[in-house]
Structure formats: C-alpha cells, structure tokens
C-alpha cells in the first residue's frame, strides 16, 4: 500500500475524506432488466463505481468435453471497459481479471441450482463501466441480480461489499482513495439474509484478529443494506404487470 502523508483519509471525529461516517456506504442505485439481448441483466452503481452484469443461458455448453451429465456449470467473465479507469485498460483479460472471474464464480455458485440443467452453461458477464473501487464486490451484487432477472433458480441472492481499514478505523465501502492509501481492503460476499460468506479476500498492511472480526461485522452490515436494495430493484421490475 502506498503511504502518503498529504492525504487525510479520516479526521479525528471519524469523518472520512468524502464526508461519510465509518459505517456509511456511498449512494447506491440498482436496476434490473437494462439490456435487450441478455436473458437477464442489471446495472449497479455504488458511488462512482458503475457495473453492468448480463446473463445468458442456460444453453448448450461448448466445447463438449466440459459438459457434465450431472449438472450445469456457471461461467463468469469479469472485464473492465477500456475507458473505465484513469489509465486506459488494454482490452482482454489480464491476471487480475482472470482471478476476479474465478472468485466471483465461486461466490455465486453456492446459491444457483445448476443441477437442474445438466450439460449446459450459464454465462455471467460482469462489465465494469466506470471504476472507483469495489468493482468485484459490486460486480457480484449485479451478477446475482442479473441471474435472478434471467429466471435462473436460486436459493437466495448473493450480496457483496468491501469493508476496509483507514488509519485505525474499520470502515464500510472503501472508495478508491481509501483503497490506494488506506490500510486494508476487505471485499466479501454473503448469501443474503444468512451468515454465510462466499467470498473473502484481504489486502492489508496489517490487520489484528480483532480488526478482522470487526471488518467482517462491518461487511455484513453493508451486505444487509445492499440485500434490501437488491430486493427493492427486483420488486420494482416484477411487482406489477407491464401494460
């Protein structure tokens, strides 16, 4: 992590550089059914981070040797649009994107009833339109909504957010400045309404065991908030007959 003496990320009153309390998220908006072609889609914005997720399937899986007679599979691709970051992203997956694709798949899989669709694949595309930290967490939240929008049977929604450490404080929903100059980034994903964590990664310059516990509590609080927002977005789309 880069240390920079010029930047005050959190003041003595526990107010963060962008005016937030330690346990406060940036403004959140969620919308499902935003794309025409995809079987399911969602746009999730948290602060300046904007993610589009699209789902296709279940459909026949190619190449055939990947087909499984007992279950369908989930294929996840996390991708950053070239103009989504300060420095242009070279198109195509790099090592970071490949790893995020993997952990996002592992985060989503536990709730999807893939065994109902043997031999098939469900493709999930997470497209970062604009990045200001928490892109993997926000991408997973969006992907879960897109899966629901596609009508893929699931036992629950997956909700993800990032806790972190800034100075000596554990905070919720790190912004990109806090990610770059703070002490820890703790993205986590949970099965909505439960205590089950399906993704956890930590980048930190030093976190005590107590701080880890606090970060997990903070993360759960964030997930609970986002879970309500997810349900609201689905209700908005599906609670009335469109005439």
């Amino acid at each position: 992590m880069v240390q920079d003496a010029d930047i005050t990320l959190i003041d003595d009153n526990g107010i963060r550089f962008d005016g937030r309390q330690t346990d406060e998220m940036r403004p959140v908006s969620m919308e499902v059914g935003v794309l025409h072609n995809a079987d399911g889609s969602a746009m999730v914005e948290i602060g300046k981070t904007r993610i589009l997720a699209a789902v296709y399937g279940p459909k026949e899986l190619h190449p055939q040797h990947l087909q499984d007679q007992t279950t369908g599979i989930l294929q996840v691709r996390y991708n950053m649009a070239p103009f989504s970051t300060e420095d242009r992203q070279k198109p195509g997956p790099n090592r970071r994107a490949s790893e995020i694709s993997l952990v996002a798949r592992k985060a989503l899989e536990p709730v999807v009833f893939l065994e109902e669709y043997p031999m098939t694949t469900v493709k999930v595309y997470i497209e970062v339109i604009e990045a200001d930290a928490s892109t993997r967490a926000t991408g997973i939240t969006a992907a879960s909504l897109a899966l629901a929008d596609a009508g893929i049977p699931m036992k629950g929604l997956i909700t993800a957010c990032a806790a972190g450490k800034v100075g000596d404080s554990i905070v919720l929903d790190v912004a990109s400045k806090e990610d770059s100059y703070g002490e820890a980034d703790v993205p986590l994903a949970m099965i909505g309404g439960t205590d089950d964590i399906t993704l956890l990664q930590i980048d930190s310059s030093g976190l005590t065991h107590e701080e880890l516990d606090e970060a997990l509590r903070m993360g759960k609080k964030g997930c609970e908030y986002l879970f309500e927002k997810q349900k609201e977005a689905l209700y908005r789309q599906y609670s009335q007959v469109i005439t």
Binding site: L35, H36, N37, A38, S41, K48, L52, A53, A54, Y56, K59, E60, R77, N79, A81, P82, F83, S84, T85, E86, D87, R88, P91, G92, P93, K123, Y125, E127, I129, E130, A131, D132
Partner: protein, 270 residues
C-alpha cells in the same frame, strides 16, 4: 438448430416477403431510422470524453482516453489518434470473448477512417513538445447490446464523444497529465459522421435491426464531412454493387447524415 436460430429464420423469411411489397417488418420506411437516444458524457469521470448511443435496441458506448506518449520518429510533431472496438460478449449470445476479431477491427477502422480523413482532428495540435511528448487520443467503442447497425451507432457515439473531450494539462515536471484540472477542449476542425445503407435483394434499407442486417447482401458506409462532402467509404457484404446503386445509396446516406446531425446538434445544445 437452436431456438434462436429458428426464430431468426422465420423473421428473415418474413422480412423478405414484406420487402417485396415495399414494406419493412416494423412498418418503418426503408430510409427511416429507429428511435435514437444520445447521452453525452456517459462516463462521468474516468474518460476525457464519452457518449452512449441507443439506436432501437442497439447500445454502444464510445469512451475517449487521453494519454501522453512519445511521438512516432517519422512524425515527431504530431500526436496520435486511435480507434478500437470491442464486441463485448454481454452484447449478444453469439459474441465470443477473446481478442478483437475481424468484425471488431473493421468496425474500428471504418469509424477511424471517417474521423481521420475528414481532418476532424489535426494531429499537429496534439503535439506538446516535438520529439518528446504528444497527446495520444484513443477512442474505445464498447458494444453493450447488439441489434444491428453498429457502424452508424459507433460513428455517432465517437463524434459526440470527441466533441466532449478535454485535454488534461501536461505537467512537464512530472511528465504526466493533470487529470484533476479541466483542461482545454480537444481542437476539432470538422465533424465526421458515417451512415450505412444495406442492400437486401433489390431494396436498400437503413438502420436495420439484427434480423434485417443478417440477410443483407451488401452494405455501403459513407462518411461525410460537415460540408456534406464524402470523406470515406466502405463497401461490405458479398454482393457486387453497380455504379448506379452506389451513387443512389450515397445520396440517401447524405440525407440521413443531415437528419442525424440535427439530432446531435439538439442534444449538444441542451
């Protein structure tokens, strides 16, 4: 045959039948565009200029990134303009992830050609210090939803994105761009816009959706400068075109070029 292919085939037969009666499947005139929504500045902060264009169900973002780099040795006092395109797999079930295929490359080059040949961007004005530092302006075309006529959607998005673009000031001390400052607007000498006509059997239609585009025998993309002169052309598809067909399509493209320019002008004035 998959369900999607079956639906497409039924659609294609219907389109042909209607066209023989001088009609389109959705009731549009042959030279009528779908509803168009232009959203300038779609990328709020990270891009130096951007625009999202929706043509019917087709949705494309053009994002402009400005970087600083060393000029090519043969043109030490000229900046660099680049156009790239990506058919992101979320945009259609038949798009594959992977390095840009020939369709992405053609899309980028056709959009690039109109901008470049119109002289819209004078690369000389992108020079910061000859031989040392120049602005490199990159347009990335990102397809989010594909329902036909990507070239025109991308051309509109690219034009508006460039008109929105600011050049962040160059800091000679650090050799980097100061992206927190607004900077000056990218100098623009002209406004390039392309319109594409699609030939199906004996008819010519504009702004096709995916099903219409999928049975097009040929297409002709004509790029125009602001004064209405032609700055680029690309013929696509398998079917040869006659001189009469080409001049006729170019005339129709010129008309629509005016229509779209009016729409852009209205959006920019808001």
């Amino acid at each position: 045959m998959t369900k999607e292919e079956e639906i497409l085939q039924v659609n294609q037969e219907y389109i042909r039948r209607r066209m023989q009666q001088g009609e389109r499947k959705d009731g549009r005139a042959f030279d009528e565009l779908r509803e168009i929504t232009i959203t300038p500045n779609y990328i709020h902060e990270k891009a130096e200029g951007s625009c999202c264009v929706q043509l019917g169900n087709t949705k494309v973002i053009a994002g402009v990134k400005v970087n600083v780099g060393t000029p090519f040795p043969d043109v030490p006092d000229e900046g660099v303009l680049m156009v790239s395109a990506e058919h992101a797999p979320l945009a259609a079930s038949h798009f594959e992830a992977g390095p840009p295929g020939e369709n992405s490359i053609e899309l980028a080059r056709v959009v690039d050609r109109a901008i470049r040949e119109s002289g819209m961007i004078d690369t000389g004005t992108l020079c910061i210090a000859a031989g040392e530092a120049v602005y490199m302006v990159g347009i990335d075309i990102h397809v989010l939803d594909y329902d036909g006529n990507l070239i025109d959607a991308a051309a509109i998005a690219s034009l508006v994105a460039l008109l929105q673009t600011n050049l962040p000031p160059y800091d000679p001390e650090t050799g980097a761009l100061d992206r927190d400052s607004d900077g000056d607007a990218l100098p623009v000498q002209d406004k390039a816009l392309s319109i594409t006509g699609y030939v199906i059997d004996d008819g010519v239609i504009f702004d096709p959706d995916y099903a219409e585009e999928s049975i097009a025998d040929a297409r002709l993309t004509v790029g125009f400068k602001e004064d209405g002169t032609i700055c680029s052309v690309q013929k696509g598809g398998w079917k040869p075109l006659t001189r009469e067909q080409i001049t006729d399509i170019a005339q129709q493209c010129a008309q629509l070029n005016q229509t779209v320019r009016e729409k852009i002008k209205n959006v920019m004035a808001e």
